[in-house]
Amino acid sequence: MATMTQSGKPADAIGLAPAAPIELDGITHNYGSRLALDKLSFRVREAEIFGLLGPNGSGKTTLFRILSTLMIPTGGAARIQGFDAGREPNRVRQRIGIVFQSRSVDVKLTAAENLKHQGHLYGLRGAHLQQRIAEVLERVGLLDRADDRVESLSGGQQRRVELAKGLIHAPSVLLLDEPSTGLDPGARRDLWQYLRTLRDQQGVTVLVTTHLMEEAEHCDRVAILSKGKLVALGSPAELKAKIGGDVVTFEAAGPEQAAQLAAEIRNRFGAAGTVLGSTVRVERDRGHRFLTEVVEAFPRRVESVSVARPSLEDVFIDCTGHRFWTEDAQPDPAGGKNKRGEY
C-alpha cells in the first residue's frame, strides 16, 4: 500500500491506488513490561466516521498518541495517507487535525488569537489565515466571540474553539479523543451533526475514540479494543447482526445458581450462555419465545428476565466474555504516572 517511489512520495501521490487515510500494520506498543497494544492491524476508509471503542486500559489512548505522532510505537507501523507516523511525522502532521481531550487552547488569548497561533504552526499566514479563522469560527458558531478571551467562554464553547483549532489547516483526517467529554446533550448532538457535515461536504475522514456505547452508535464503522487487541470491527449494525437475534438475560439468585442454570439451559436447549455474575446471557433468535420456554422449564431458578435487541455492549461481551465496565481497568502508566494530560 505504502510502497515508496524513488521521489519518496507514497504511491498515491503519482495517481496509483490511493493510500488509506489511516492504516495500522501490526502496531505494537509496550510501556516497559506492560503490553498496551498487541499487533493491531486495520484500515480506515476515505470519508468515514470511524470509532475506536474500548474501556479504560484497552489501549485506545496509546493508539491515539501514536496516530497523532506524539509517540513512536515499539513495533509495527501506523500510516496516514501512506506516510509513516513514526518515521515521517511532519508529513503526517500536515494532514491530520487533532482535537485532544485535555484543553489545548491558551485561555489568556482570544479565540481568534489561538487560531492565528495554530495557523502559524501550520504555515498559514496573512489574509488567507484571516479568512480561514473566520471560516472555522463561523462553522463552530463562535464568530461573534472571536475577540473574547477563551477563559471567558463556557466549557462547551471552549471545546468548540478546540475543534476550530483542529480544523484551521483544513486537514483531510481529523482525530478526536473522547470529544463528548464535558458536553451537554445538545452540544453533543451539534458535534456529531458537524462531524457528519465535514464527512459529507469535505470528504474528511474522522476518527473518534470513545468509551461510550451510545457514541459509537453514531460511527460508520467501529473498532472495538480490549486489552490492546482488536476484538471486533464493522458497522454498528453489522456487529450487532453477528450476534443473531435477541439477547436474553436471566437473573438467578446468585453466581452458583447462575452457573447451574446455564448448564441446564445448555443441556435442555443446546444454547450456550455466558455467565456474568448472577446472570446468564443467551443470544437467541426470537428471544421472547425462548424466554418463555426457559421460564416454564425452570420456574424456580429464574428471578427475573429480560429480552433486548443486541447493543454494542452485547457485541463487546460476545467478543471478550466479560462486561465492558467490569474489566479490571489498569491505570494507563503513561497518562497516569506522569500526569501529562488526561488523554
Binding site: 490511493p18 485532544f100 497561533h117 502559524h120
Partner: protein, 273 residues
Amino acid sequence: MATVAAAAPQAKTASSPGIWTPAYSLWLREIVRFYRQKARVAGVIATPLLFWIVLGSGFAYSFHSSSGSGSYLAYFFPGSVVMIVLFTAIFSMMSLISDRNEGFLLSVLAAPVNRSAIVLGKVLGGATLAAIQGVIFLAFAPLVGDHPGAGAVLLSILAIVLISFELTALGFAIAWPMDSPQAFHAIVNLLLLPLWMLSGALFPADRASGWLAWLMRLNPLSYGVDALRNALFPAEHTLFPLDVNLGITAAFCVLVFAASWAIVNRRTHKPAA
C-alpha cells in the same frame, strides 16, 4: 493518463511552516501572556528593586568594596540587573511546565513544526521579557552615582541580552523534561540561585577563599556579571576584560541553546507530552 492524474487525491500540500513563523508566533504568545497578567508585570519590576535597596543597604555596613567608588550599592548594581533577568527567565520557563500540563504543548508538538522553532520561540520570548526588564533597571544607575554614556549603555544592553538568552535557554533545558513546578523549584533553589550568588553579583571572586574563587571562575554566569560591570563601571577592577567576558557569555548561549535543542529532539517511545 489524464484520468489517472485526475484520480489522485486532493493533494493538500500545506507548505512547511519553516522556522520563523512558528517561532515568531510562540514568541508573541509569551509577550501577550505576560502583559495580560498584571501581577506578573508588577512583581517582576518591584521585587528586584526592593531586593536591591534592602539587601544592598544592609550589606553596605558590613562589607566595603575596596575598589572604585567604594559603595556597595554600586557594586551590587550589576548583580541586581542579573537577578531581575534570572527571575524573569525562571518564571517564563515555568510556563513550559504549565503548557505541558494544560495541554497547550501537545498541540504544538503535534504540528508540523521543526523542534528548533519551538526552542527558539519559547527561549526568545522569555529572553525578550528578561532583557526588557534588565534594561529598564539600568535607569536606576544614576542613583548609585553612575552616569554611563551612550556607548556604555549599548554595551550594557548587549551584555543583558546575552545573559537573558543564556539563562532562559538554561531554564528551558531544565524545565523541558519536568512535569511539576515543584520539581522545577527544587532545581531553581539547588542550581540557579547558587549560580547567581557565586557569579560575583554579591561579592568579588578575588576576595573569596580558594575553592570558592575557582567555583566562581567555572560559573558561566560570572562572565556575564563581569561584562555588565565592565560596561557600567569601566574603572572597576574585574577578573577579565570586556571582550573575553562577552565572548564566553556568547559561547555559553550557543552551548545551552544546543543542549535545549538536543533535549527536545530526543527520539523516544515514551509519550511526547
